[in-house]
Symmetry: D2
Subunit: 367 residues, 4 copies
């Protein structure tokens, strides 16, 4: 209820702070019989781990996951899977000077207003490290989706003013550059832009895009639990996300019906298909078998070393320059978080959907 639990059937509960013992997640509702080991999860955590390029914080965390429960003889048992990542490089000293300070763009002021005080060390629960629980759980979800032939591919679409050219889209390129952009030329341009930001003690926003292939039609629910609505919540629950689009998104708001409607046709296998995919794979909140395409607007890192005007909790106006260890751009490390939240949402919708029809129910219990 206090917002650390997500999902209906495949339900995750995350906990932990930047400078506490560690970060963890409990997954309840994972189907029994899934082969699962630490490596399956670690490879996802490694994608969001700090210290992998000059654009990420120098905080050194191996982010090693331990499975504490829910696995027996290499398979999930159907009971809760508890995952733990210990913090090892917390340096609370770095944050002593911000104990009273309300950093612009951060949650310091709002936490204080809500709770009366806060764990100010590294942002406490509002730190980006909170996403470790999402990614660890997301890794399990992705593993299940893979068995259903569903795959997700996220990437940075634009960095500040620099956007990838879809005609140069190269999936392999994504993992080769520090900005996680699937377009070599755009990545170079973006790095030049980012280097400029850094020189100016500044940071930049970015757009992440994620594509989901292999979705069957019919997933999602009408009205409040539209698949698009649940994806919107999932993505906008990631810190720093200020906007969400499905399919054409805001472009659809400028389009006409003739442009935006996707014509159906019958393919050579006799299957219903769409000629275009302005819908982004979802019609009426329910998947239409086309790839799902979504985007997240990620704001610039609020922690910048340039001097800023702000106030403290004593009601004084002060000037601060944020030192500590901070990424000048959030998006590259957030790509795996977007994939994770999308995977959790998609999987949950698939599980919920199993009971949508009487014939399936009767077949399940009376075969």
């Amino acid at each position: 209820m206090a917002g650390s639990t997500y999902g209906k059937i495949f339900q995750i509960t995350t906990w932990g702070e930047s400078h506490g013992c560690g970060i963890g997640v409990v997954i309840d509702g994972c189907p029994a019989g899934l082969p699962l080991c630490e490596e399956d999860i670690q490879s996802f955590l490694d994608r969001r781990k700090p210290g992998q390029s000059r654009y990420t914080t120098s905080r050194r965390e191996s982010d090693t996951v331990e499975i504490l429960s829910g696995i027996f003889e290499g398979k999930t048992t159907g009971t809760p899977i508890s995952l733990l990542v210990r913090n090892t490089d917390q340096r609370s000293g770095d944050y002593g000077d911000i104990a009273l300070c309300y950093r612009p763009g951060h949650a310091d002021y709002t936490y204080d207003q809500k709770y009366g005080f806060r764990d100010y060390r590294g942002g406490g629960r509002s730190s980006g490290r909170e996403t470790i629980g999402r990614v660890a759980a997301g890794a399990v979800a992705v593993n299940i989706l893979k068995r259903l032939n569903i795959s997700l591919f996220g990437y940075v679409k634009s960095v500040g003013p620099v956007t990838i050219d879809m005609s140069r889209f190269d999936a392999d390129e994504r993992d080769k550059n520090a900005l996680y952009m699937p377009d070599c030329a755009a990545a170079k341009e973006a790095q030049a832009y980012l280097d400029d930001c850094i020189r100016n003690q500044n940071s930049t926003g970015a757009v992440i895009e994620c594509r989901i292939d292999g979705m069957p039609a019919g997933i999602g629910d009408p009205v409040f639990d539209k698949l698009s609505a649940n994806l919107a919540k999932a993505i906008c629950s990631i810190g720093a996300v200020k906007g969400f689009e499905i399919g054409d998104g805001f472009v659809a708001a400028r389009a006409t019906g003739k442009e935006n409607n996707d014509a159906f046709f019958i393919d050579k296998n006799g299957c219903v298909q769409k000629k275009t995919n302005h819908s982004g794979g979802i019609l009426g909140g329910i998947s239409d078998k086309s790839p799902i395409l979504l985007r997240a607007a990620v704001k610039p890192t609020p922690s910048i070393s340039a001097a800023q005007q702000t106030v403290n909790s004593l009601g004084e106006e002060i000037e601060i320059s944020i030192r500590g260890r901070h990424d000048p751009i959030i998006a590259p490390r957030a790509v795996v978080v977007v994939e994770s939240m999308a995977a959790l949402t998609i999987l949950d919708a698939l599980l919920v959907n199993m009971s949508a029809r009487m014939d399936a129910l009767e077949q399940f219990y009376t075969r």
Copy 2:
């Protein structure tokens, strides 16, 4: 679970189809003692009622609300409030020819894939009439918020390529033009554009913006139930919405930290304030006392009278021209739906927040 229930404490459940007996909503969790009568709700329903301008369907529905339960001696009793709006002008005959057809941009195909069949009359549950339940409940939420000095104001920000000029913003103007735009000049231009669309048997998308004033700081929860995440779900659950923004939204993705950070200062009353509001009133998922500003991208009406290629459920390719009675633009009548969903979300967050602190809990029960 099948997605017709929304909210945690102030929880609504909607039901009904375009061509069934009617549309309704049950509100559970409304605090006891709120003065409430049909008129309080009717005025909201009237704002989304069809037939008020040449841009809306000619279907004639008075959309008269009946309160079936939960009120005694003019006040809410704390038990469920059941609201009913009877359908009176359903003409199922209009839809006989689409029983088999999968209309582009509609949910016909996806409902069939999910459920095996569908109530095809007027789109059944996927009809825009489904939003009546949202608006009726939203009216109750707005009434409560008013008592907490919180107000919402929604409007059409852009129609196709025509956007309002914020320097000409005139709240009173909103209700004077058929497009619900708070800028007289933009409204005229937009009407010319829309008339063009109609002549071309076409339709147009639009952007709705909503501003919430009077929010206290500290509302919303960290992690998955960020106020921004819950608003994203609320808004994206409205049919035809393809994108969502809070504060600067996608503009923040192109901004730098220096531009996007809102500096705090101390006002003359000694209160913490922000100099700018790029955050849109929410930091770290929790309200920061500035106005909340959100936007929804609404796609063009998929029902257009121009000929379209599509398929039917027999697997045949066909051509259709959608007659029936349809708005050439969805957004104007959806403004009150956006306000309603925002109000429901905000109110629920306020109720959830009451138990966030020990001191409040102790005071509540031991004073």
Copy 3:
């Protein structure tokens, strides 16, 4: 959240008061494709309808159900099913004298304490008429269970000191006597006892038992959502229920392990079976394929015409004799309520269970 919604997948929301417009229920999450008509529901409502014997209130209600949504061409569509039963014989005048009075054994005082005031007409929401929504929804659940070869049979096991003799158990007898007891001799004895109570302006408590046949093994969840725990909540949520037992219940508390353990054996079909059923069909919270057996302790009707000492909301001590129209025993009409709540709980557990295993999930989506 305010307690009028029940179930996770097959989720019902009830509303209505004794003397309002009517009583209703919205069922969300009913699988699509179930044949359903008013008669399927009416036959259940008729079992709890007043006025069928001299032991029930003389209030005349036909309790006729209307289906307002969710059915198309005779089958459930997967969208919410809204059911309405209009009140027709409310006589609010009967209750004017209890507007201020706190009747012993009733919820008058507690509602006032919670909400600050109450709809005192006929007990408002705390009236037995509230169970109409449960029974209407229960009828749908029972119809689904029937298709899975699961059946429920409830009856009055004891009335005051008179208990049925299981060796004389006769299912057909149940519907032949006014007390709903499946033992003709016990029913006669119980009627004599009850007539005595009536003569003394008194009422009596009773025990209801319900047996569920055909349950597959493996239904229910470990820990908090044990099938037995959810049944306990379901049954104890019925007004007037003060105790719950599964299997041997409180007898198990006096037994030894040797007596209480049910030995497993292999039957002639090679299936695992239990020699006895002290467990009542549930082990570790999960169904074990034996019949589920549960009991509810129902308190005596608190409305008695004998004079009683009590107080009013003005803080005065008063004496009252409750006239109005009241059953001298609650249990007979509550049998179908117990069956309904059990059916809703069992069905929901069956739906939840569909996603318990990876192999079933893979088969569902990749066959």
Copy 4:
């Protein structure tokens, strides 16, 4: 959804198995500002710890709790509190011989039926060690309730045929005898009975009673979330509980209205009080200010060393004698579990109740 999460606002999620790394719980929704340290929790865990008398398993576990998150400077922050108890004395070797066996009265067979396989070591998730998470969270709830002047007192009321005499009730005596009975004479008699059971390689059932003092009136919700219904679920979710009573329970089923109704009167302070408490502190599902009184029927330990007939997962009939380390009676160590589950339920109802009235809501946000 898979049943390891409990509560609406004060929400707990437990995880862990008998022979895994450990047992844990995440508490989400604990109000911020509660002073809390390990000792506050440890004292509760010590009450259920094994090895404290000759009636408990000889497994040696210190059951030491670690707080992993949610506390800063000695107080709860409002974010999730993660608690971990490491297993230290698991001897999986003890259980190798039961890998295939279905022990009578245990969940071996039902887990296999549900999940296809199971962690058989020490019962896995169905072990009594699962309750550690409940007790750790319950300790936090009790600490909060104490600040609201609400206290809980649980004890063993009867052991097999031996029941305490309420006229000899002595709260202090409870902690002085191994059976946790607040009546010295009954405790001695019960111990003699239990010694007999042990000699006969047998075990015994028992009844636990719990009394909650200091409850304000008005807590709990009508219909499905009656306080009594939620307590029933809470208590029946504890392994081995087969029955539940509130107030007079099954005795009410044999009583008349005149006997069972509690007369109201005005006390010398002008407050409404009840002369008797047959209701057990709850009327219409809502607390009536009298002490809440509940009982749980606990079945005999199913693990007995006497030879038993059973089957294995290969479909063979076998004979087993369960060795390992087992308590001959479950109830004494379960008393603190009953208190914990009751405390969690009561606290959650108190938090939910804060938003029941408009006047409280207005006062909260506009004072």
